[in-house]
Symmetry: C2
Subunit: 368 residues, 2 copies
């Protein structure tokens, strides 16, 4: 870690983010929720979705793409299910309330599912699955997103990175948490390589002609215009089963749109054809499964923990240090960051300082 | 198609398969179910899981690995959920009854899920999801399987090919059906290349040392002994996100074992350490979602159909003929095969003729 990175106390950054959201017209309780999603991303080492994203939310609220006051409307409800219209409010607030509704239904009937329409960018999908896990349930979260991924054999961005997050409790300190885009990599990974001045590995992105694209900055510049596309998990064509990543992306698209009469694919672009910003109308899908209706929760946690321990203890390839299980790295990081503070690099320091000046935030003071 | 391939009437092959299963001690109703799963695989062009597998089931029943009379026991039941012990019966029968139970619960409460332990090989996962789709529901099916897949950075087969099948109704003649192993390819794909005398594409299989393996027959010979491993979707290491395929495989493993106090990973090997055959104790997970509790089913079908149509109509890469959506190829094939008959190549003709002689099946007569 370079010397110019500042490790800021978590509480300071948390209070700063809350203050920023409140100044944008977001009610205090909602600002606390939005902030918690961002902070948890930073804690878990997913800086691409952390407080650095404050800038994006501010811009989108000011452009009228997101409503600061979230009107959370349950438009349809059954014993185990609900459909929510988020009315273009804050995705984090919509996400937390929707997963809590799914959890409540699961606690009553064993399983709960909530489909959401007209939402906005909600941060890391894993946050919502962890809400279920922290209450002892299995949690599944999916969302569609602005188009950046080519279908197999296609040269036009149709899908978002359409993540799937699946969490389950274990008998260990860390839960199992799979949280991944259905593309080879999410957009954020390109931004990380851009900052490092590194070319893209072949196999992440192709151009409209099907050519392998490795110029990181050219790709980032041309991604929104559809000159390039992220590849679905499995890569180009069918040889290494890129059609499976494409299929997973389609599943997320269906569950994020069809149950809720919502929008999909290119309807989710952040900009209208004339270039003006528009409401994004994202859809999400949340599923919570109560474990106790199937089996003794202690048995579930033990079986799951043992699966993970056997995987980690299995024979490594020559030269491999360690076999990880999903969510392990992030959980370890979370403990570490909570005590050491959130690393804020010079670029992020400048971003947050500019927000401070712009919004006139005097309390808390930033430590840089 | 070569001249020596015989197109056998579907009804003839169906009756032959039923007769074979009945002679093995499987009750007639169950033989009809097992046969329907195999026939549907052949109809959909998935010959690796079709009537050619009769040989495997016969051998396993005779070796005492599968009980011909399926004792289907619901050991735990809630409003929306059930746990089933299959007592080592026929996987197809256990699968059909379990998905029907999930469907019944979904029709009553909106969602139904059934977790199964002590089952056996149930054929194509997609069959069970289609049962839900054919009743207008969303269907999800998962199963663990005998170990053949290496974890990321691992050199020991820990996972089965752990397929996930997701089906949803559309407003088209064909439903959406994603049915795929979470490895780059399933074992059956290697068998297809072996028959064709073709080497494996790099990226499907590695050896215990991490080296790329392309000798198809050597790989097939050494897969059970752990000398080689199928790679998870995304390939070796993390560069192209092989850890995501590994994560999907882990999700399937958890849902196929932890909710049902079942077996997992290497406990699922078909052979004991001394080489003797043993009961496989597979686990499955079935989920059915009623669409009508969320939205008008007509709206769901239309939204889903439009997503698929927009994908298929999107801009193709130069040289690409067509963009498919999941299940489309198999659905087209199903109609074609139903009218032309099931293609039986010389090797399969020999297999079926040997079964006929061995079991003394005189009715129906095989057309070769």
């Amino acid at each position: 870690m370079k010397e110019d990175v500042v490790f800021a106390p978590v509480d300071t950054i948390r209070r700063f983010s809350e203050a920023a959201f409140v100044r944008l017209g977001i009610p205090k309780d909602d600002a606390v929720i939005c902030t918690d999603v961002l902070i948890r991303s930073d804690l878990r080492g997913i800086a691409s979705h952390g407080v650095g994203r404050l800038r994006m939310y501010i811009d989108r609220i000011r452009a009228g793409m997101i409503e600061p006051v979230t009107e959370f409307e349950v438009v349809q409800e059954g014993a185990t299910t609900a459909v929510v219209d988020g009315h273009h409010g804050m995705g984090h607030v919509i996400g937390v309330r929707s997963m809590r509704l799914a959890i409540r239904k699961a606690k009553e009937y064993g399983i709960g599912a909530v489909a959401v329409r007209n939402s906005s960018h909600f941060g890391i999908a894993g946050y919502y699955s962890l809400l279920a896990v922290e209450e002892g349930l299995i949690g599944v979260t999916m969302t569609n997103a602005r188009p950046s991924v080519f279908p197999t054999f296609g040269g036009e961005p149709m899908f978002g990175t359409n993540p799937i997050a699946f969490g389950a409790p274990t008998d260990e300190g860390c839960p199992f948490l799979f949280d991944a885009s259905t593309s080879v990599v999410p957009r954020g990974k390109l931004e990380v390589l851009s900052r490092a001045g590194t070319p893209l590995p072949p196999g992440w992105v192709i151009d409209r002609g099907g050519g392998i694209a490795t110029d990181t900055d050219a790709v980032l510049a041309g991604l929104n215009a559809g000159e390039f596309g992220l590849l679905p998990l499995g890569g180009a064509g069918e040889t290494l089963s890129g059609h499976k990543g494409y299929g997973f992306a389609t599943i997320v698209e269906i569950l994020s749109a069809s149950l809720q009469a919502g929008c999909s694919l290119q309807e989710l672009a952040s900009f209208a054809p004339d270039g003006s910003p528009r409401k994004q109308r994202l859809g999400h899908f949340f599923l919570a499964i109560d474990i106790g209706v199937f089996t003794d929760p202690t048995s579930f946690r033990k079986t799951t923990g043992e699966i993970l321990r056997r995987l980690r203890a299995s024979r490594k390839l020559p030269g491999a240090d360690r076999i990880y299980t999903a969510g392990e790295k992030e959980c370890e990081r979370e403990r570490e960051t909570a005590s050491h503070g959130i690393p804020i690099n010079p670029k992020l320091q400048a971003t947050l300082s500019a927000i401070r000046d712009e919004l006139g935030i005097t309390d808390p003071q930033l430590p840089f």
